[in-house]
Amino acid sequence: MTPHASPDDNQSAPEPGERRQVSRRGVLGIAGAGLVALGASAATGYAAGRRDPEPAPASRSYPLTGEHQPGITTPAQDRLHFATFDLLTDDRDDVVALLRAWTAAADRMMRGLPAGELGPTSGPYDAPPDDTGETEDLDASHLTITVGFGPSFFTDADGAPRFGLDGRRPALLEDLPHFPADALEDARCGGDIAVQACADDPQVAVHAIRNLARLAFGTASVRWSQLGYGRTSTTSTSQSTPRNLFGFKDGTANVKAEEPEALEQHVWVQPEDAGRRPDDATSSDPAPDDAWLAGGSYLVARRIRMTIETWDRSSLREQETVTGRTKASGAPLSGGDEHTEPDFSRTGRDDVPLIDPASHVALAHPSANGGARLLRRGYNYTDGSDGLGRLDAGLFFLCYVRDPARQYVPMQNTLARDDLMSEYLRHTGSGLWAVPPGLPDGSTTGGADGAYLGQTLFET
């Protein structure tokens, strides 16, 4: 096992003869093929059963190709730049060209290469470089890029299909309903395409979105974006549970990369899901032609502002009651340690349940949601302060689910209505996107024939 490697370790021995991007390429150079393979297997969870220190493949890079897109079960990196884009074109070929260009650039950047083939410091002297250059001395930093398509990608405001995608919009890809106490801001909602860039270095994540946005100019424009830091969930058993801005461990009960059956059941859209309609669909609603989404998932994003100041004035008793876990170890209040299953029937003095039935852990638990689980991938965010001197901070909640209508929507309705924690939360941003499957192993990207994310949607 490789101990946690610092960036310096990766940059210490560039391959002799490497001319450009010494530090970024050196990552691959010292490791050789064996460690590249290690990086690949890490993405599918080779480290089952281990806890910290986190495994850090020397390459610090993940492959773009695979049955599923990276950035979902990949061990959650520490930093996020999330952006959504609106398409400016009506031309289907323009969209495919954009996805091709993005996929090629994503492939390169995830390997620690510049976004373009010439790089930031070469190319025509009188032209702008094809990479912006701020990651030139950094390695791939575990960058992953994940792409999803929103309802508005398929259908315009009048309900007419776009880009010739008649009938291809999954019936489950609906704008999320209004939830109690939503305080959504238009400028933080929706978007035709969502791009999630995660990395262990904020500069690498920002660089990725910046260069994709650049490639999109004229075809798509950024609608809104969000920076995140401090992953607030754990997507692999190799990771310890981090803390959110309330100071509590977050994501203890997440679906993990090492649970293949749970992933099939709760995260990945299965082939038999094709044509699925919501449970409340009427018989006249046609079944969609959405087999293209098999192997993909649905991405829910919610910008959840925390009322930090009032939380900080609440007693430890209230904080633990609201959460249903101890602040120290994250153990459920029914006893045990962090990973002990909560016992909601256990009572204490006066036969009152040790875990409040309206606590966050009680209401979010699969047992209160028909067995539904989510793969959460949230990040803390702090966007400075509002005009009243209050921190504009909270949780940028991201989760991946197989069926948003059965998994996320009922759970969020329950939480927004009854969760004691809701008193300290307000949802200010929102969106839902269908995340297509990954590219088959061995796919080549780039050029006019390269494989691209979303290819199954346009070509099958």
């Binding site: 100041e309 209230e318 009651t321 120290a328 006066d350």
Partner: protein
């Protein structure tokens, strides 16, 4: 509101100690003496291990002053830990509901004397007891007289206050509803804010009734999809009808006379129900010093969350009436407990006195006629000033409960 605001009443134990601010703890201690900070001014920390048949306290004595018992439940049952007076009967302090495997701290300021410690696995029986001594460290331990009477009086007075406010709320709501259903919108508008102050003064109490609160006080933004909207803010919107632009782009449709009667009748019925409930013996028994203290804090949280941002009264803009009423309610709660706070923590009392006066000065500057200017008339600088004063008051107010709970 705070989930701890209204919990079942527990007997108010007479004690020689008060909960002190929770302090950073040392991880473990040796078996002879409690661990203390290097300069001797920090708390003495003892560890307690509770199992099915043992209650191991890391030391048999501690110096007077702040003492922390870090209680770990190493058994399979839920456990409790008590510090009892020398007679073994009077509870000095306690920590309950410790699940298996969990550690909870009991923090208190202890006076010199003889005591008894007890673990109570399974929460039944006399518990597993040992003698415990608090030696005289020379540390000045805050005087703690017989405060139980003051707290009893404060509780009685607060219950009376809540009853009085709901009675006034009921009377005012009757007048408001009469004007509204008869189509006298000017009178209804004039009565709206001045009636709601009786609700806002006791908001955490009203909110403790989980079925009534959403029916009576839900804002439009808080609705679940498909949920029917009822209560004060529905009528508010109908009295201050928005333009299409302010209504999400759709033309506002006024309520019909039949709908007006239906929703007004329901508001009146719910108010009557609220009034009935706070007049029951169960309600009075549920009020204790902790619920009053937490209620005061909860009122300031209400101001910080909705009033200071103008979101509560989005159509009438009468947020400052609510703001004042929330502060009134917090002030009444504090005034009832003020003698106790003075005895336990005079600095906290002084801080609270100062901050209540400051916030009142700012609110008084916005008075207009019998009420206040509209929220929309405030400048951003004035809103910021009010928000700052809410934080300045909210911070010490959040320590009120710990100071009065014995």
């Amino acid at each position: 509101m705070s989930p701890t605001t209204l919990r079942p009443a527990r007997p108010l134990a007479l004690t020689a100690a008060a909960l002190a601010t929770v302090l950073a703890l040392a991880a473990c201690t040796d078996n002879s003496a409690p661990e203390s900070s290097a300069d001797g001014s920090g708390p003495s920390t003892l560890t307690v291990t509770s199992t099915a048949d043992e209650c191991t306290v890391s030391a048999p004595e501690a110096p007077s002053g702040n003492v922390v018992f870090s209680v770990t439940n190493a058994g399979d049952d839920v456990t409790e830990f008590y510090l009892l007076a020398e007679d073994g009967l009077r509870i000095v302090s306690e920590v309950e509901n410790i699940g298996p495997g969990l550690t909870r701290d009991l923090v208190l300021t202890a006076k010199p004397g003889s005591y008894v410690t007890a673990c109570k696995p399974g929460m039944v029986g006399d518990g597993i007891r040992s003698d415990f001594t608090v030696t005289d460290s020379g540390t000045d331990v805050a005087p703690t007289g017989a405060l139980a009477d003051q707290i009893t009086a404060a509780t009685t007075n607060y219950v009376a206050y809540v009853k009085d406010q709901t009675e006034q709320l009921l009377t005012g709501t009757q007048d408001f509803v009469d004007a509204y259903t008869s189509g006298d919108d000017d009178t209804a508008r004039a009565l709206y804010a001045s009636t709601r102050v009786h609700w806002e003064r006791i908001e955490p109490v009203a909110e403790s009734f989980g079925d009534l609160d959403p029916r009576m006080d839900l804002r439009e933004a808080d609705l679940e999809e498909g949920q029917e909207w009822t209560g004060w803010h529905l009528l508010e919107k109908d009295l201050w009808q928005p333009t299409a632009e302010a209504n999400g782009g759709t033309e506002y449709v006024a309520l019909t006379p039949e709908q007006r009667t239906q929703y007004a009748d329901q508001l009146l019925a719910d108010t009557t129900e609220l009034n009935d409930r706070v007049h029951t013996a169960d309600f009075a028994e549920g009020i204790d010093a902790a619920s009053i203290g937490n209620g005061a804090k909860g009122l300031l949280d209400e101001v910080a969350t909705g009033k200071v941002t103008g979101e509560e009264e989005i159509w009438s803009h009468t947020d400052l009436w609510d703001f004042q009423a929330n502060v009134d309610g917090a002030k009444v709660a504090y005034d009832g407990l003020r003698d106790v706070v003075l005895a336990q923590d005079a600095d906290l009392a002084e801080d609270l006195d100062t901050q209540f006066a400051e916030i009142q000065t700012l609110l008084d500057a916005q008075r207009s006629g019998d009420g206040f200017v509209l929220y929309t008339d405030l400048t951003p600088a004035q809103v910021k000033e009010l928000a700052d004063s809410v934080n300045a008051l909210g911070e010490p107010l959040s320590r009120l409960t710990a100071a009065v709970v014995l």
